[in-house]
Structure formats: structure tokens, C-alpha cells
Amino acid sequence: MYVNEMVEEATVHDRPERKRRLGLLFWLCVGWIVVNVLAAILANVLPLQSPILQNYATINAGPSWHHLFGTDDLGRDIFSRVVFGSRVSIEVSLGAMVIGFGAGAPLGMLAAYRRGKFDAILSSVMYVFLAFPAIIATIAVLSFWTPRSLLKIIVVIGVASIPLVYRVIRGAAMTVATKDYVVAAKVQGATDRRILMKELLPNVAPIGISFLLVGIATVVTLEGALAFLGLSVNAPTPSWGNMINESLSILQTNPWLAIFPSLAMCLFLLCLNFIGDRLRAHFDVTEAKL
């Protein structure tokens, strides 16, 4: 029996060492996301052709040196449209997550720490909103709230994500708030502010970051779906969803127009999901907590 326990202890100790390494693929994915974000920020400075310049001399051209990804039915450069299109996806997803986490995370942590009436009321309000199908709410509000703009899209998706963030962060903070070290800090007379920032926040952060990545991936997909409904940014501004939608009418003559933005979007999502997955394994966060 004693030997068994020792063996178990030894193997348990071994594990975190092995997990510490995130692997090459992880860093490749991080690199790809960084490249995407940089390209989106610097799109104006990079030596790209204009994404809205129409050139009827070269319509529906395949990939070539001059047009890396070919051109669309209006002779616009697909490569440049894909790069500029990433802006919308990244802006909407980051903006929405800033709103969602900005409101949802502090409220969730406070509710888990304070408990009592504050938690009871806030949680029941949030749960009612959670029951409301978010995608239908988003579509409904965006179709009625005219005229549409990028900011409105960000606000609507961001507000819709608040209850989700609240639920995840509250759940994570609940398990931390009952731990001995939090009680110890309280006994020592630490202020609430200090406990929230120094004890709760660092321990909730891994789950928060994993959920942030899932959230960004979800919003990128959602923006694509909204583009299909004509509820995203207006033409001729490119977005990945917009471009895939535009490509449908000429799918037979020019499949490139569908392939490149789809590839860009899927690769972006794959990297986000992979980073999230690895981080969850690294921090020992189970998927059920999200």
C-alpha cells in the first residue's frame, strides 16, 4: 500500500513537467494569429492594391504573380480584400469581447465573492437572459435597429455575450473563493479589493483566457453568418463572411473567390481553437467548465 502511494505521488509529480511544454504547433498557431492581427492593423501601410478598386480588364482571374489570389467578378484583388476583410472579423470579435468581459467578468467575480442577495438577484437575471437564444436576439435587434454600422454590430454581440461570460467567470471564481488561501487572506485582514485582484483574478484568469479564445472564434463565425443575412458591414467594405456570400452567385465560374476567404477564416479559427485547447490542457481546465 505504502509503495503504491509513493509510486502514485511520483507519477503525479512527473505530469506537470511534461505539460509545461506547449509544443511547436502551439507557437505556430500563435504566430499565425499575430501575423493576421498585424496584417489587419497595418493593411493601409502594406503595399497592397486597393480592396475596392474595380478593374474590368481583369475580372475573375485565377491566382497569378500580379494578383496572388486572383480577382473577383468586379476585377478587385482578392488577396487585398482577404487582408482588409480580416479587419472586420478581428474588430468585431475583439470589440464584442471587450464589452462582454468588461461587464461580465467583474460582475461574475463580485457575485462569486460577495454571494448573498447581490449574487442571487444578478444570477437569476443573467440566467433568464441566457435562456433567450442569443443568435436570434442578435439577428432581430440588428434587423430592426437601422441604419447598421460596425459599432452597432459590436455593441449588440458584446451585450449578448455578457451573460455567457458572467456564468463562466462566476463558476470559476466560486471554486476559488472557497479555497483556504482566500479564507486565510480574509483572516489576515486583506481588503476586498486586494483579495479580488491578488487572489481571485490570477486563479480565474486561465479559464477566462480559454473562454476568451472560444468567444473570439464564435464571434468570427457569427459575423460570417450575419454577413450572409446582409446584417454585417455594407458593401463594398470586404469581410470574410461578405466575400464568401458574394462568391455564391459566381461559384461555378470563379471558385477562388469562395476558397481564399474560407481558407483564411478556417485557418484563423483552427489556430484559435488549437491555442485554446492547448492552454486548457496546460492549465488543467476541463471543457465542461466553459
Binding site: F144, F228, L248
Partner: protein
């Protein structure tokens, strides 16, 4: 709880109309419409009364099954929804049969030898599929199956109703069902796999093994039921999501389900139809979630006892 949520949904759906800039009657009917129509809309929505009373006028109509009459197509909103909804149900049922039929055996195969070569391939495959949005899948399925291979009745606008020709109907719904099945499969496979792996390490499984019960029987009779709680919960949320989010596959193939009708109505500014569909889908999603919570309690009675 259910009643509170449904109440809030009806309030939300009703006040959508007031998000429209300016006088809703003018926005809905357009500036050039006749005063007779405008007064009909005022009566239907009770627009001349105070806000709270407007809601009660509207909800009384809704409870009688009267969601209003579209001012664009001049047909009853409820009638429109009633013809579209069965198509959604059919696609969802088909996709779920496909998803479960593939997810359960593959998850069992993976769980039998976690980190084995088959598990690695299946897990990597499901991970890749997880990152492909449904609108990308349907676009490429249409491109390959309907356009390149030329399989009949699979392209856009080939929908035929179930009552007129069920074989063509199934053919026309094959690609959308397959698309929704892929997304569901990934979810179910991942959830069931990780739960099965955890269950298979329990003592009662070791006990069953030591009694010499076959692997097959252990999987189906002993491990499957305790591992399916999270699966059912996921399925409930996912099916609700398909009802609300399945509009893209319908839109692309012009299948006249609720999602297609919703998009078409947004495009035509047919706000009463949009409002009606939002209401029906929201309530539908909540009913599905509650139904699956109930199912979970049957599979694992310990949950309701807690």
C-alpha cells in the same frame, strides 16, 4: 421559471418594433401607404395606446394564435410559420439521426484505446471540423456534389415538399442535413469520448471486466448510460441552436423553412413576420432545452434528487 422566461421573451419580441426609427406604422407600411392600412396596423398593434397597454393588446392576440397579418404578402403570419416550421423539424431530425449514428460508435472506438492511432486520427479530424463554419461546409458541398458531380436535386432551389414526392424531398434535404450533422457530430463525439474515458476508469467497469463480460456489452450496457448525461445536455443546447441558427443552409439552397423565411422577411422589411418568427423560435429553443433537462433526469435520476 419557464413562465418568467417566456414572459420576458414576449416582452422582448414585442418591443422590437419600437427599435425602428420613427413611427413604426410609417416604417412598416412605407410613407406612401393608405390611411386605412395605417389605422388597421394601429388597431392590430394598439399603437395609439400607452406602451404597457400596447403589450397586452398584442399578447392577447398572440395567445389567440393571431400574430398579425403581413402587410406585404397579406397572409397571416401564423400561417406562414405553420408551413415553414415542419421543414426545419425535418432537417434537424435527419441531421441528428446522422450525427448520433456516427458519433456514438466512433466515440466508443476512441474511448476504448485513448491516444491510440485511431483515437488520434478521429480526434484530429473532429478538431479540424470544429473550426469549419457551417456556411463554408455547405458552400463546398454544393460546389462538389451539385455542381461538379452533378447529382440531381441537390443544388439550390431544388426543394420539393415531403407530401408531393418523398424521395426527391430527401434528396433535396440531403446536403443541408449533412452540413448540420457535421457540426453536431463534432460536439457529440468530443463530449461522449471524454465522458466514456472517465467512466471506463470507474470501479464498476473493472468489476464487470473481471466477471468476463465482453467489451461490447460493457460499452453499451454499463458505460454508455452514465456517460450520456453531458451528451444529452449538449444535444439539447445544440438542437436549440440549430433551430435558431440553421438559417444559412436554408438560405443558400432556397429551402423555404423558418430560417429562409426570416431572411427573406428581413430583406423585404416585413417586420411582423420577423417578429413572429423571433417569438416562435425563441419559445421553441426554450421548450427544447427544458425537454432535454427532463430527459437528463430520466437517464440519471440522481440529478433531480440533489
Amino acid at each position: 421559471m419557464l413562465i418568467v422566461i417566456v414572459f420576458i421573451i414576449t416582452v422582448g419580441a414585442f418591443y422590437l418594433i419600437h427599435l425602428l426609427p420613427g413611427d413604426p406604422a410609417v416604417v412598416i407600411l412605407g410613407t406612401g401607404d393608405s390611411p386605412a392600412n395605417r389605422s388597421r396596423l394601429y388597431r392590430q398593434l394598439g399603437l395609439n395606446k400607452p406602451m404597457v397597454e400596447q403589450y397586452f393588446v398584442w399578447i392577447k392576440n398572440v395567445l389567440r394564435g393571431n400574430l398579425g397579418t403581413s402587410f406585404i404578402s397579406q397572409t397571416s403570419v401564423w400561417g406562414t410559420i405553420k408551413t415553414a416550421l415542419p421543414i426545419d423539424v425535418e432537417i434537424i431530425v435527419l441531421s441528428q439521426i446522422l450525427a448520433f449514428a456516427v458519433a456514438i460508435p466512433t466515440a466508443m472506438r476512441s474511448a476504448r484505446k485513448p491516444d491510440g492511432w485511431l483515437d488520434r486520427i478521429l480526434s484530429a479530424g473532429s478538431f479540424t471540423l470544429l473550426s469549419i463554419p457551417s456556411f463554408v461546409i455547405i458552400v463546398f458541398l454544393v460546389l462538389v456534389v451539385a455542381v461538379k458531380l452533378g447529382v440531381p436535386h441537390t443544388g439550390p432551389s431544388s426543394y420539393v415538399s415531403l407530401s408531393s414526392d418523398w424521395i426527391v424531398n430527401l434528396e433535396s434535404l440531403a446536403l443541408p442535413s449533412l452540413t448540420l450533422a457535421v457540426g453536431s457530430y463534432v460536439l457529440y463525439y468530443r463530449v461522449l469520448r471524454s465522458d466514456l474515458i472517465a467512466t471506463l476508469q470507474e470501479e464498476f467497469i473493472t468489476m464487470a471486466r473481471s466477471k468476463g463480460i465482453t467489451q461490447r456489452r460493457i460499452m453499451w450496457r454499463h458505460a454508455f448510460r452514465p456517460s450520456s448525461v453531458a451528451l444529452l445536455g449538449t444535444a439539447g443546447v445544440n438542437i436549440g441552436g440549430l433551430l435558431a441558427g440553421g438559417f444559412i443552409v436554408q438560405y443558400l439552397l432556397s429551402i423555404p423553412g423558418l430560417g429562409y423565411t426570416l431572411i427573406a422577411s428581413i430583406g423585404r422589411s416585413d417586420y411582423l413576420v420577423v417578429q413572429g418568427i423571433v417569438l416562435v423560435v425563441s419559445v421553441g429553443v426554450i421548450v427544447i432545452n427544458f425537454a432535454f433537462d427532463f430527459l437528463v433526469n430520466i437517464v440519471d435520476p440522481r440529478i433531480s434528487r440533489e
